[in-house]
Symmetry: none
Subunit: 223 residues, 4 copies
């Protein structure tokens, strides 16, 4: 069972009862510990003991707040989804035209990924742990995209021939693989991940997106 993606996921325990103040604090510590452990070790290497030890609470206590290992993982992915979208929305706020918004959205996404590389891998791992929650994650991000593209299409900010839905998924895919290749895989001479996406890469990608989205003059050679 997947918690409501937006609602305050932290108000009930594993059996659905509302939490006391103390209980809420415990739940939060568990989630924070899970974040670190899943990021460092991945889903299968992580264990409930590692999480509770890191959280500084008793093993049995875990089950007062979560049904299972999978359930805390899902809660974490949902939380991360909110944070990624927040990072993107923040970056897009105040942009004027659609193309600018697009760039800003990508920048926000890459910023989050660069700051939490391992954590973003957790989101990707959801595909194999809890496909449902991954769908939720992608869908939620794409929804915003798609709406924006639809509006931009109406207003002529982007090429009228584009399909908002497919375009949104395509852009998302570009961001994911560029992020994986140039953020998650990239290490400097000290073996550290880069603090942000390389300027060259970002520019090159932007160029391509501009091309893809820009409205076309009548008479372009494309059919």
């Amino acid at each position: 069972m997947i918690a409501d993606i937006d609602g305050n996921a932290s108000v009930s325990n594993a059996t659905g009862k509302p939490l006391t103040k103390r209980g809420e604090a415990t739940r939060t510590r568990l989630l924070e510990a899970a974040e670190v452990v899943f990021a460092e070790q991945g889903y299968h290497e992580a264990s409930i003991v590692k999480i509770t030890e890191r959280a500084g609470i008793g093993l049995g206590t875990f089950y007062l707040y979560f049904d299972s290992k999978q359930s805390i993982f899902e809660a974490l992915v949902i939380d991360l989804n909110r944070r990624v979208r927040h990072s993107m929305a923040e970056a897009m706020a105040g942009t004027s035209d659609r193309i600018a918004a697009e760039r800003a959205g990508f920048a926000g996404f890459f910023r989050f990924t660069a700051q939490h590389p391992a954590l973003y891998r957790v989101v990707r791992e959801a595909e194999f742990v809890s496909p449902e929650v991954l769908k939720l994650h992608y869908t939620r991000i794409v929804e915003g995209y798609e709406a924006g593209l639809a509006r931009a299409k109406e207003s002529g900010d982007i090429d009228r021939r584009l399909d908002p839905e497919v375009t949104a998924w395509a852009l998302m895919g570009m961001g994911e693989l560029i992020g994986m290749r140039f953020l998650l895989w990239e290490r400097d001479e000290n073996g550290l991940p880069p603090a942000q996406l390389d300027e060259r890469v970002f520019t090159a990608m932007t160029q391509m997106i501009d091309n893809a989205l820009a409205p076309r003059r009548e008479g372009n050679h494309d059919d």
Copy 2:
């Protein structure tokens, strides 16, 4: 140690000795069984017992050919990589210009994914099982892409301002997420995966790629 991605991966056993004819047959049966089991159950649900049972082979025999579950998984990913690239190369053969080749490449990729949906998820899971082999997989595919784009750039078939490397990874990412969304997730009323990518989606994606790559007339509005 990851076997050579192209070389005859099937000529040595777990200790590096070359195989007899009988040995080669056994190794093949193991790989075929692994393909089914990993595809159906995912890496962590799969087990060596399940693989050998499906292969109709004694448990201990497994270890004559592979070091570990991870090692047969890697061998499988390498094999799949070859097949995906084959599917793409086949589709691209005989295309004239770059844009046509691009479309054909995607078509080949989607064809493979549609025919082996679960199998392609295996490749994606490599990110969490054996990152090295996933790098190999992507890199190998991207290399071909990149070389093609570089040539097309020279000949003016595509926009001169594009960066072949970044563009190649971006295109790859588009293909992956479109494939995941519209092939892996999609089920018809009988719960069956589609036999091929929806025409509408493919067209929409092609439109976008055409936009992204098409050479620009002088005086275009881009910076």
Copy 3:
């Protein structure tokens, strides 16, 4: 890492945490079961399942208290060492001169071996399972011997020309092989091991030791 040979070996679990009362009881049951199983079957025939089954405890529980089969084996040897030394010390208490003490010490050693023949074989097997712990075992016993011999030498109770260290190891060796030959190997007509060392053997051995240690009159023929 080998636990302190004398300290309360029973106060911590496999991860070093101190034990609750319940935990201590479980650990004791495991050690008692291990004693029986190792004695009856030897190290390699013994298995953790056999130990936990005998202890009436779940398999997984074993690993809460010991790291591995080797680690419980070492704990057992250390425990046996304490008991052998106790048996010897008890026998020697109250003896007046050194020669008498020597005899008593041997008697104590043989008493323990006769009462736990299989168990004493466990100690000997440590040579091949955990040489370090065997060293500890022998060294601890020899230390006491050596100190006694050194004092006896000072006081003229034994031959001044003897080297306490070498003599101690030699005496220990005599005891071990005599014990093996005349206690571990010996079976009566019912196939039962003897309840104690044969009087004749003990007397003969004592004679020899008396000879070896007794102080010499001036003018003896030796070098």
Copy 4:
């Protein structure tokens, strides 16, 4: 089934058939390989594959010459026994009185142990692998000892009150533990085992044995 301890153990294969010349060579190579492997790794770490690989012959071939892992181990112990006894007999040859013979015998034993430390550990391990063959080993050595002591007793070369059998076992035990402590355990600053028993230790031990065996004048204080 234990092969005849003295007879040419190498004239038949696992099924008892006499060997051809070629077969005899193969059997010898197996025994030589087993010697190295058992010495380096101990009985349980050793494996048939390791032995046959070292011998440079096929795995299946092993079973043409030996019934089992235990059976080649026994053959090896028997062979070592012959060599130890040879080393001792050689050293004792030509000594005049019993005490001198005793010293020489020990010297021969220590020489063998110093030259093949790991190998001698193999013999000791027989206690846990094949107690029967260990009995044979000790008994054979002790027999010679005992006979010599009996004769010396008759001739007045040693103390008349000693029991030849018990004395022989006691001397054997002394040798074993002294050897273990001062040859097997001892390492120089380079971690290498000593090439021979330390002079001081040998002298000290000899002193003690002299004491133990030397005939007593009338009127000695012993009863």
